[in-house]
């Protein structure tokens, strides 16, 4: 079938199974927008800022496991998308971003709206392509989706000059793709599996440290089986929350800078870390010299470069979480796996003692709304079954600590890049993927103002997101650091001249509510969630001086937490 480049793109996306294309038009992509208008298999979602297009695609990807797809124009369209691309890159999220480019004969000419998109995005993509000939378009797109979704996932940019979208070529959907230079490993080495199981049997103080890789691999069931078999405490990174149910009695909570006392003490004192799809981020390890000094480490990761990057590893296992855990369970079953049950019992006794600290307990104070309380109420009202997106700051950490995620892909946050402005657009992607689900965007009055324009997109597509704004009047996370480490010099962390969020929501055609007393939180959230087809902005005025605890100060060991 002979088609124009722009039509090849729309046909390809539909054949690839893409439901939504998040985008914003401009000169270099006009042919593509014209082709989008001539078809109805791929639905285009018009955002109000290109950064939001990338976060929306990202939220769609995180909640479904399918790649998010974005279309932006050249120049400023592409540069506006960079933050969202980097956000997806840091958290290994599959995404394909199509950027328009000036016509091939003008490339390098400082043409109108020309930027070197391939050059600008190179450090924050898994791979990128410039398509110079319409004959290569379909195959390049196939490669882009293949690379974005396999191995360690990540964003891929395809830069398409305008003339390529006008030129004509034969189109056949490429069913298969092979790339000699790209062959991600999935199955683990059997020798390593045996070594790992030996260490697991010999350990008297094990911990499973599970991260985002469990969720990316859809292997939460396998993780639960392994944890129950080995009877080890399980801690999740913030990216891994929901990968192991919060209510499981083996769960000791999140670890790291704002991890629980029990998680941080358990990992600090263990003799074996079974790391699964986690990358020993510095927010997790604290001072690396003091990290888990007595521990041997088994590290399962699909990306060899994640292994032994920050810590020395005793048994590296390169492979996908699911395939490795299956192999481990098989070896446990067949290889004669004997644990020292008495020693394990002692270990659990110790872990339970740490739990008795009740590190997440907080002081209440009359009418003042504690943010932690608001999140507990959110959990109650949504029966712990909502998709929760978040922005970045204290509210993000409280949501991670207090919502209690039971299932994977329910906790949608920017962990690696920590991008304020992520929450609302990400919630749009989630709500589009699951129109009937409860979607809450937990945010702060600082973060929500980065991408607030998306309230307009939400109206256009009837997205009944519930925005839970924990409004403390401060850039709270910044204020907390200034309180602890800069002798309370609150330099530029007070949010002055805040808008009236209720009126603002109303101006955009939504429902706005403000809550000022602790006693009113439950009623307000109930009402908000009962408005099933409306976006509700719930502006909750919270205790301005509340801090996130526990906290591991910079450069301290994990067992040197500041507690309430």
């Amino acid at each position: 079938m002979k088609l124009k480049g722009a039509e090849i793109l729309t046909h390809f996306l539909a054949d690839e199974g893409v439901e939504f294309l998040f985008g914003y038009p401009g000169g270099a992509v006009l042919h593509i927008y014209d082709a989008i208008d001539q078809q109805d298999r791929v639905k285009h979602i018009l955002v109000r800022h290109e950064q939001a297009a990338t976060h929306a695609a990202d939220g769609y990807a995180r909640s479904t496991g399918k790649p998010g797809v974005v279309l932006v124009t050249s120049g400023p369209g592409a540069t506006n998308a960079v933050t969202g691309i980097a956000t997806a890159y840091m958290d290994s999220i599959p995404m394909v971003v199509i950027t328009g480019q000036v016509p091939t004969h003008l490339i390098g000419n400082d043409a109108f709206q020309e930027v070197d998109s391939v050059g600008i995005t190179r450090p924050v993509v898994k791979h990128n392509f410039l398509v110079k000939d319409v004959k290569d378009l379909a195959l390049t797109l196939k490669k882009a989706f293949y690379v974005a979704t396999t191995g360690r996932p990540g964003p891929v940019v395809v830069d398409i000059p305008k003339d390529v979208t006008a030129n004509v070529a034969d189109y056949v959907y490429p069913e298969k793709i092979e790339m000699r230079s790209y062959n991600p490993v999935v199955k683990a080495h059997s020798g390593q599996i045996k070594k790992a199981v030996k260490l697991m049997a010999a350990s008297t103080r094990p911990i499973i440290y599970a991260g985002g890789g469990v969720i990316l691999d859809n292997s939460s069931k396998e993780l639960i089986k392994l944890a129950h078999k080995v009877n080890a405490p399980v801690t999740n990174t913030s990216m891994g929350l929901g990968g192991f149910p919060a209510s499981d009695k083996q769960n000791v909570g999140m670890l790291g800078m704002h991890g629980t006392y029990e998680a941080n003490m358990t990992i600090s004192n263990c003799d074996l870390i079974i790391a699964i799809g986690a990358r020993f981020d510095d927010r997790v390890t604290g001072n690396i010299e003091k990290f888990a000094p007595k521990a041997k480490i088994i590290h399962v990761d699909i990306d060899p470069s994640s292994i032994a990057k920050n810590v020395k590893v005793d048994v590296p296992i390169v492979g996908s979480v699911g395939s490795v855990i299956k192999a481990l369970l098989k070896e446990i079953k067949e290889g004669g796996f004997k644990q020292d049950k008495a020693a394990l019992k002692e270990w659990w006794k110790q872990v339970d003692e740490w739990r008795e600290k009740e590190c997440l307990k907080y002081k209440t104070n009359g009418d003042i709304i504690k943010p932690q309380y608001a999140l507990e109420v959110l959990h109650k009202i949504t029966k712990g079954d909502a998709y929760v997106t978040s922005d970045v700051g204290q509210h993000q950490m409280w949501a991670a600590q207090y919502y209690g995620f039971e299932k994977p892909r329910r906790w949608i946050n920017s962990g690696g890049l920590g991008t304020m402005g992520f929450g609302l657009p990400a919630a749009m992607g989630v709500q589009l993927a699951y129109p009937k689900a409860q979607v809450a965007c937990v945010t702060g009055e600082g973060s929500i103002q980065m991408n607030i324009q998306e309230l307009s997109t939400c109206l256009q597509y009837n997205l009944p997101i519930k925005i839970i704004c924990l409004n403390n009047g401060y850039l709270g996370m910044v204020r907390q650091w200034q309180e602890f480490f800069y002798e309370e010099r609150y330099s530029s962390s007070y949010m002055e001249s805040l808008p009236d969020f209720v009126k603002l929501a109303e101006a955009y055609g939504h429902v706005g509510m403000q809550v000022t007393k602790a006693g009113d939180v439950e009623g307000a959230l109930k009402e908000a969630f009962s408005l099933k087809d409306r976006l509700v902005f719930v502006d909750i005025l919270t205790d301005p001086k509340e801090n996130v605890y526990p906290m591991v100060p910079n450069n301290a060991g994990l067992d040197e937490m500041i507690l309430v």
């Binding site: 391939v118 190179r122 690379v147 990057k309």
Partner: protein, 171 residues
């Protein structure tokens, strides 16, 4: 974590797709991650769809492990080998232009070129240009041998390397 701090020089030889941008991906990786590059050479192979690159870098065992993993992760990279892990040959080419305004200096230069087994490849009334191939330290020694003769210009190719014997880097 105890880190092995001893830094060593490594020659990494990379086979990759001969695509526009492949070189900048590798150079970008080294600068973004703060790895050092002593030299870098690249050219297409006998199969024109492939390029072969040689990077000379310096680092502790851990750093070199990360460098090879990160390079392997690049989608354009097909295979690579750290040549310094086994027996190998490394060569570099030097062209040097020196001032030869007197008979004495011409004789002196000719003698040095003989000793080092270089070749004089261009002659003018005031200068000689010499080509010399060898390992880096041989080229260094040659350059420092010009004590009295003024050096006008030098250019070095950067290191290329190949393993000895049966081990090959090919697809």
């Amino acid at each position: 974590m105890k880190t092995e701090l001893k830094e060593r020089r490594h020659i990494i030889s990379i086979l990759m797709e001969n695509e526009a941008g492949a070189l900048s991906r590798i150079a970008g990786l080294f600068s973004a991650r703060g790895y050092n590059i002593e030299s870098l050479t690249v050219a297409p192979t006998e199969d024109l769809t492939l390029s072969r690159m040689t990077v000379v870098t310096r680092g502790s065992a851990e750093i070199i492990e990360q460098i090879t993993k990160q390079l392997n992760k690049l989608v354009d990279v097909i295979k690579l080998v750290d040549l310094t892990e086994g027996p190998h040959i490394e060569r570099e080419m030097l062209m040097i232009k020196v001032k030869t305004s007197s008979n004495d200096s011409r004789e002196e230069v000719t003698r040095l070129v003989d000793i080092f087994r270089g070749r004089i490849i261009d002659v003018t009334s005031t200068s000689y240009t010499i080509e010399l191939t060898g390992a880096g330290d041989k080229l260094d020694a040659f350059i420092s041998a010009f004590e009295k003769t003024p050096i006008l210009e030098t250019v070095r190719s950067g290191v290329s390397g190949i393993s000895r014997g049966a081990k090959n880097l090919h697809i």
